[in-house]
């Protein structure tokens, strides 16, 4: 009991010690600031980003692309997954396409989307979308095929028809599977947006990253990584709350 109780405290202390050593090593000129800027310089870069207000349009671009791709990907992935599970001829067409899409590391599509859709937000949404849609498609498709037969028989023997099956068995199961994969999907959505911006863009956290890289500004780069991490963790927490609410029957 005691051991578990103070886990966070021990983690915090260990973290503080590492940061402290890092900072001390930086000040003692043991680290090359070009490669490993000290924590205070990373924090400084973060403060600069927010103080000047320069960060907001970039955050907006990245969030817009990631959340747009996430929403579209969930909707389209779900619809295609349901369609494929209910209509075998659609499954014959869709499954190989999805398997192929799944086989390429989908971020390599980024340059292609830039050619097709330009360097604006559309190409970033598209990359997020493809990452999320393929994941959700397989989640929903295999999920529906594995729906508990007993639940289906129960509904039919109680007199329920197709709409009853959809409403009482399929939709709740689909929500459960999607919720189970929501965190992965959020991660994918941000990966898509940031990588897309990194390849070619005029705004966004990925664009800032590529800018930082081209100017060898590793403090800015690490500050951005930190920022993305914090935002994704916040969204994870929100997704966790949503999951606990929607799956409260578990």
């Amino acid at each position: 009991m005691e051991r578990r109780k103070y886990v966070w405290l021990r983690q915090f202390i260990a973290f503080a010690i590492i940061i402290g050593l890092w900072e001390a090593a930086g000040r003692a000129k043991l680290l090359n600031p070009l490669y490993a800027p000290s924590p205070s310089r990373i924090v400084g870069a973060l403060i600069d980003l927010f103080a000047g207000g320069t960060i907001w349009p970039h955050l907006e671009a990245t969030f817009g692309a990631a959340l747009g791709g996430l929403a579209l990907g969930i909707v389209v992935g779900t619809v295609l997954g349901i369609a494929a599970a209910l209509a075998p001829f659609l499954a014959e067409l869709l499954e190989p396409v999805m398997i192929m899409l799944n086989a390429v590391p989908r971020v390599v599509l980024a340059p292609l989307f830039v050619i097709w859709l330009g360097i604006g937000i559309a190409s970033k949404v598209a990359l997020s979308f493809v990452l999320v849609a393929v994941l959700i498609f397989f989640t929903v498709f295999t999920g529906i095929l594995q729906v508990d037969r007993r639940l289906i028989e129960r509904i039919t023997t109680l007199g329920g028809g197709r709409t009853a099956l959809l409403r009482h068995v399929y939709l709740p199961s689909i929500v459960a599977w999607i919720m189970g994969n929501l965190k992965v999907a959020v991660g994918f959505a941000f990966t898509g947006a940031v990588v897309g911006e990194f390849v070619a863009a005029s705004r966004g956290l990925g664009y800032l990253l590529s800018f930082a890289q081209s100017t060898y500004n590793s403090a800015l780069m690490l500050a951005l990584v930190l920022l993305i991490m914090v935002f994704v963790l916040v969204i994870f927490a929100l997704a966790g709350r949503l999951e606990r609410h929607l799956l409260r029957w578990r």
Partner: protein
């Protein structure tokens, strides 16, 4: 109210069941026993229309909604509360939400589950879940209940109590029952008529036993009825002979 006549069923070349017949009158409690694999579940599935017979017929004057069905591994919808689960069938048959919920609550109360309507299935014990499943079926006011070893997964005490409640309800509402069970004592103590299927494949209806015990029944008391032991012995001997015959044929 239900007649199965000369029913033959097959999944492959060799019929599972051949020329099986049975009758259920209004409000009659009928059990079907037999060695495992003799086709009890298959017969029940044929009665429900889930299995097409090779020959013979199932006739009933009952509408589909007058027939309630309960299996051993019935699952409740895990994402619906006990009340919502019970109200499910009522909704399918046109009750509005409010009425269905009230009705569901009164059935939960009748089955000793008052106050548990807001719980999800995972928050209920095995026995409670089985009662919810029973309430779900009984709420539709069936005139005939078809059950395939519905209580097999329950421990002995819970099972005895749920079974007694079922008998009380069936007697009071005059619900006919066709129960598949492998428990001979249960079959005798619950039923008006017990049918014995012979060893499969090509299982036949080998015996029909009238159970002359009076109603209303108290299950524990029936076992000390002087007519109980001889009936059990007869059924047991007949069933053993079937199983031995099956083993001899297999050898």
């Amino acid at each position: 109210m239900l007649r199965v006549a000369d029913l033959s069923l097959s999944y492959g070349q060799v019929p599972v069941l051949e020329g099986a017949s049975l009758d259920i009158d209004d409000g009659q409690f009928v059990s079907l026993v037999g060695p495992s694999g003799s086709g009890k579940s298959s017969l029940l599935r044929a009665v429900m229309g889930l299995q097409k017979p090779l020959a013979g017929s199932v006739t009933t004057e009952l509408a589909k909604r007058d027939i309630g069905i309960l299996f051993q591994d019935d699952a409740l919808l895990p994402w619906r509360t006990a009340r919502e689960n019970v109200a499910l069938g009522l909704g399918f048959h046109g009750s509005n939400r409010r009425r269905a919920a009230d009705h569901a609550d009164s059935w939960l109360t009748q089955l000793g589950l008052s106050g548990l309507g807001d719980r999800y299935p995972r928050q209920l014990s095995g026995g409670q879940r089985k009662r919810v499943a029973l309430a779900q079926v009984l709420a539709l006011k069936p005139r005939l209940l078809l059950m395939d070893e519905p209580f097999a997964s329950l421990d002995a005490i819970v099972r005895a109590r749920v079974t007694q409640d079922l008998v009380d309800l069936a007697e009071r509402e005059r619900i006919g029952v066709l129960l598949v069970t492998h428990d001979l004592e249960e079959a005798i103590s619950l039923s008006d008529v017990v049918y014995l299927l012979s060893q499969g494949p090509r299982a036949r209806m080998s015996q029909r036993y009238d159970i002359p015990l009076s109603r209303p029944r108290k299950l524990i008391a029936t076992r000390s009825d002087p007519r109980f032991a001889p009936l059990l012995e007869r059924l047991w001997d007949d069933l053993s002979r079937e199983v031995d015959r099956g083993a001899a044929e297999a050898a």
